[in-house]
Amino acid sequence: MTIPVEAVGLVRRFGDIVAVAGVDLRVEPGEVFAFLGPNGAGKSTTVRMLTTLLAPSAGTARVAGYDVVTEAAQVRRAIGVALQDAAIDPLMTGRELLRLQAVLYGLPRARAEARSAELLERVGLTAAAGRRVGKYSGGMRRRLDLALSLLHEPEVLFLDEPTTGLDPTSRLNLWDELRTLNLEHGTTVFLTTQYLEEADQLAARIAIIDGGRIVREGEPNRLKAEVGAPTLRIEVRDAQADVARTVLARFGAERPDRAGVLAIGLDGGAAEMTSVVRALDEASVVIEHMELNAPSLDDVFAEATGRRLEGADGDAAAGPGATPGEPAA
């Protein structure tokens, strides 16, 4: 069976800047694969190379079995792409854009019309299809973009930050659509995101990219299990931070977190919470906030890079059904 996406030593330089510094990837057929990383990590540059928009400076990649450099035309036939900034002409109507997309992909008119109607229905835009896209909401544009990328029934679908900027409801709807697409149609999905929850919810496997390199790769649950201990976070007065840090060091290694928060991997798990509270009390540390979270993808990212994923808090707040953290087991 053809490997949908495979890259070896993929590098992209822009002058002296190395945006992607040797990425190795393999996405299995029918898989939802999430490429997770902060802004500027190299996600979009990698996608642009895989979708033939940028030539790699070094390394090789095959998409749908074709080399992205020497067989770019074949790659383009087999993929659907929705890029980060939904590039949709605001002067055109949804239906006109679908017609143009059909022309670009060489679909016969009758098939294109039927497929367009089906996709418009699926993404809930049938009623809005005759309106200019400039009048659409952000969520509607994303859904139209998804419909455009699916028109020719691609073997591999690339989605570059598909839910960035969407409200929680629109984000949930898009997730549902992607799940359906993957489960019912077997489409391989290569998804880039900076949202931890998105990767966690949708992907069978993820790769975390930072500084142009993949720092972790695997199934989300396995990666989280590898982190081991749950994360204990406490907030104390600034003047007591050093004392609290010294106390916490007895219970586990410090983990990076946002400013004002002390975090450790609590080696003994939830059973040790009482001991921690007692120790802090004996040291006269006043605890202003305390929480124990099961390992998350953010912990995986933090362990791999030494810092939290940019916007992780915003992500949790913005994500539908988002919670501050999973309860410890």
């Binding site: 070896v8 928009l53 940028l54 095959r62 087999a78 900034d85 022309v103 992909y105 060489g106």
Partner: protein, 270 residues
């Protein structure tokens, strides 16, 4: 690092857009968008109309100069105004491409399995149609204001060929610039190039009446011969000698600036 082995072809694949089909589709989009953003097409019509009215009035005495090819100022300025409209038509499609590049729509085109030439041919087809706007409107105003064909309807044919040729050449020049700069600010450079070329030709004054270094530059300027062709049917009987230098100039322009546009296009996906 090892190269990846070749794999069998995928089960699903789009056939890919045909050269002419995609070009027609892109041209249609460009033309439909003109109707939805009328401001984009105003220069194509308004500027030539302004020129024909203002220049024919303000410089009407020019035709009294001994050696001027016609005594009818409208006959002199109408083809010149139409050539300006043609320039705007050619440049206008480039501004649209610049907008597409800037807002990311062009990525959609680049990722489609189309014949790459269709992405250049499409805007060129749009330019060919857009030229008809100044040709029709400025001619109508010109004839109402007193323009007369001096060698029958053939004069309109040579004018149309010259206008279409110039629009294509201007469009290719503009595309080459846009592909390199990739932003709408490229429009300034495109216009400077076109207008300097236009004003260093015989647009306003016959070459024999120009003085100093101007006639030397005008003789070297290929646009001079295209404008001569455009005016041929308005200043006397049309001869082959009025036409062939213009056709050659257009041909050379298409080849040279076509290569300029193509090399710029290739830079987009490096």
């Amino acid at each position: 690092m090892s190269a990846l082995p070749a794999a069998p072809s995928p089960a699903r694949a789009a056939p890919g857009g045909a050269l002419l089909g995609v070009a027609r589709g892109l041209a249609a989009r460009s033309l439909v968008n003109v109707t939805r953003r009328p401001s984009a097409v105003v220069p194509t019509i308004a500027m030539p109309l302004f020129f024909i009215v203002a220049f024919s009035g303000a410089f009407s005495s020019l035709t009294d100069i001994r050696g001027f090819p016609t005594d009818n100022p409208i006959n002199w300025f109408m083809p010149w105004a139409i050539m300006q409209g043609a320039a705007f038509a050619g440049m206008g499609i480039c501004f649209g491409v610049a907008r597409d590049l800037e807002d990311g729509f062009y990525d959609r085109l680049l990722m489609a399995p189309t014949h790459r030439a269709s992405l250049i041919l499409g805007p060129m087809l749009a330019a060919v149609v857009r030229v008809l706007l100044p040709v029709v409107t400025v001619s109508a105003v010109g004839f109402l204001a007193g323009a007369r064909l001096t060698d029958g309807p053939l004069g309109m044919v040579t004018l149309l060929v010259a206008a279409e040729g110039f629009a294509l050449v201007a469009g290719l020049w503009g595309l080459g610039v846009v592909y390199r700069i990739r932003e709408q600010k490229s429009s300034a450079l495109i216009q400077v190039g076109i207008f300097v070329t236009m004003f260093l030709s015989v647009g306003q004054t016959p070459i024999d009446l120009q003085e100093g270094w101007l006639p030397h530059v005008a003789r070297l300027n290929p646009l001079t011969y295209v404008i001569d062709m455009a005016r041929a049917g308005f200043v006397g009987p049309i001869t082959w000698a009025d036409v062939w230098p213009g056709l050659v100039a257009i041909g050379v322009g298409l080849v040279v600036l076509g290569a300029w546009a193509l090399t710029g296009f290739r830079r987009l996906v490096r």
